[in-house]
């Protein structure tokens, strides 16, 4: 038989859905800025595999000669991005939601099982929990990346006031140092978000409507064992590690 079960708290749903368009604006305005000095690419030795970005890309998405506009959007929406992210971190810490999100000592092993499962190599069902190991790693990493974007962003935005940050990067990242390293990391973190986004959307699509709907309504319809009607009881809103969940709950 079926039952409604609370999955995502209202606050987290707001943080999530505010972050989505704001991050899009940050990436779009970032591209307007990046156009003015588009130096990064993937190279093996002296051979260029891919250049960020081919001219056709800028033309297609109308990203050319809009540096001032890009900076204006970036320096307004950076506030919303940072404040929303900060509130999310505070909320997860205070509400106890972090217990579902932070990796623990079983996470790595479990994440590997998830990967094998998703690649159809391993047949056993995934652990029935709110977030599995792979999700814990992904959702925690993306927050750490957000902090990275914030810090490298500050190092680029105020390189003298935050000279200590830039100096920290003087150790070098792949041979790039100082101010350049901040810019380099800031760019690659954005590439990271795009990869995260692609995998996230694919996983959500795979997990299905019930799972996606939970990020909007907060509730999921779950299948519970046994059809004998039980006396009225309360369902834990946050979804305990022990509470039954649909198999899909593990995927996105």
């Amino acid at each position: 038989m079926k039952r409604l079960e609370k999955k995502h708290p209202l606050a987290i749903r707001w943080f999530h859905w505010i972050n989505f368009p704001v991050l899009m604006v940050m990436i779009w305005s970032g591209l307007l800025i990046y156009w003015a000095n588009d130096v990064y690419g993937v190279r093996i030795g002296s051979r260029s595999l891919f250049q960020f970005f081919p001219d056709a890309f800028y033309k297609k998405f109308n990203l050319e000669s809009r540096l001032a506009e890009g900076m204006a959007w970036h320096f307004l929406f950076m506030w919303i991005f940072a404040i929303n992210g900060l509130l999310y971190v505070i909320y997860t810490a205070v509400s106890g939601e972090w217990r579902h999100l932070l990796p623990n000592r079983n996470t790595l092993r479990e994440a590997w099982q998830v990967v094998l499962h998703d690649l159809r190599i391993r047949r056993q069902p995934l652990p029935r929990r709110k977030f599995n190991g792979a999700q814990q790693i992904a959702y925690t990493s993306v927050i750490v990346m957000g902090l990275g974007s914030l810090l490298t962003g500050l190092a680029i935005y105020k390189p003298i006031q935050f000279a200590w940050l830039t100096a920290f990067l003087n150790g070098g990242v792949l041979g790039v140092t100082g101010y350049n390293a901040a810019r380099f990391l800031h760019f690659w973190l954005t590439v990271g978000y795009c990869l995260f986004f692609l995998i996230h959307v694919a996983q959500v699509a795979r997990a299905g409507w019930n799972n996606f709907r939970a990020m909007i309504t907060g509730y999921e319809v779950v299948q519970v064992e046994g059809d004998a009607p039980q006396p009225t009881r309360t369902a834990k809103a946050s979804g305990d590690a022990v509470s039954p969940a649909t198999p899909e709950a593990g995927a996105a």
Binding site: K6, W14, F75
Partner: protein
């Protein structure tokens, strides 16, 4: 996207959940009455009727979904509305005014909370670029004879001062300073440059502007009595920058006549240019023809085209 009434209530408020309990209670029909919340229940718990039939559960979910998706639609609509509003505002120097206000807010925050006298990192001379990149020749397209060049100074304390027209010898008579700093272009690239010249603060002390109070200027001890801005322009007026006095008096702001120990080349702004590491490279104007002291914010070539006026680092 969210439960009902989320505008009036904090996101994790218990009463937000009551709305759901109400909705689910009625959805469950009259046969099953949801029990009252437990006294000790944490307020993230809600009552869910476990005895409801599958059809009833689905009906509850549909009701919840309709409500949440309506909220979602309102949020998406608000987002689009906000975006339309933003991009259709009256432009203020090249960008819609809310963006200009945001840049100004960021400037004020920076000037209030940062130490604006903080020094830019310096480097060893060997780290400086051997052949510094040339970027931009706006205001330098005209025929120009460096021998005929004079530096015009406006807004001096002494309106009749003979110093209103200066030669390079006047600038060179000020203490010579050499510094190796990183020039950060607003486009995103940066370059370590070895500059040589005189501090703008020494120049201002030698040729002081008229003060706000009308008293004799004292650049070192009473900088707040100086006019708020310094404007600079090329001889043909084609390129011009505005600086706040605070940044103009920064010890690393140089009137520069040498690069890599040699006289400036024409494309780098000979005979005299500005090197101001606490700002984007756009403020390091080449071929300075005029210096104007003023309490009114001087025009700035790039700020008129949508860029941040302050551009401080």
């Amino acid at each position: 996207m969210s439960e009902e009434r989320n505008e009036e209530q904090p996101p994790h408020d218990a009463s937000g959940n009551d709305a759901i309990a109400e909705a689910t209670g009625t959805a469950g029909g009259t046969e099953h009455v949801a029990s009252a919340p437990r006294e000790d229940a944490p307020h993230t718990e809600i009552n869910i009727d476990a005895a409801a039939s599958d059809a009833e559960v689905e009906a509850q979910m549909r009701r919840l979904s309709r409500r949440s998706f309506l909220w979602g639609a309102v949020a998406v609509g608000t987002g689009f509305g906000g975006w339309r509003w933003l991009v259709t505002r009256r432009p203020d120097d090249g960008i819609p005014w809310p963006f200009r206000r945001a840049l100004q807010f960021n400037e004020e925050l920076g000037r209030d909370f940062f130490k604006t006298t903080r020094l830019a990192p310096t480097f060893a001379p060997a780290q400086a670029a051997a052949i510094p990149r040339v970027n931009g020749a706006i205001g330098m397209e005209d025929e120009f004879d460096p021998k005929e060049w004079r530096l015009n100074v406006e807004g001096l304390a002494d309106e009749e001062a003979p110093e209103k027209e200066l030669t390079l010898a006047h600038i060179k008579s000020l203490p010579r300073v050499e510094m190796v700093t990183e020039l950060k272009c607003i486009e995103g690239w940066s370059m370590i440059v070895r500059w040589g010249g005189a501090r703008l603060s020494d120049f201002i002390a030698k040729y002081p502007p008229a003060t706000r109070s009308g008293d004799a200027p004292d650049v070192r001890r009473k900088p707040e009595d100086l006019p708020g801005f310094v404007g600079m322009a090329t001889p043909d007026g084609g390129y011009y920058v505005g600086l706040d006095m605070e940044s103009a008096l920064h010890p690393q702001t140089l009137l520069c006549y040498e690069m890599n120990g040699k006289p400036l080349t024409p494309e780098h702004g000979a005979p005299l240019r500005l090197a101001i590491p606490v700002k984007y490279g756009t403020k390091s104007i080449k071929r300075i023809g005029v210096i104007r002291f003023s309490d009114r914010r001087p025009a700035d070539y790039w700020a008129e085209q949508g860029y941040d006026y302050y551009s401080g680092h």
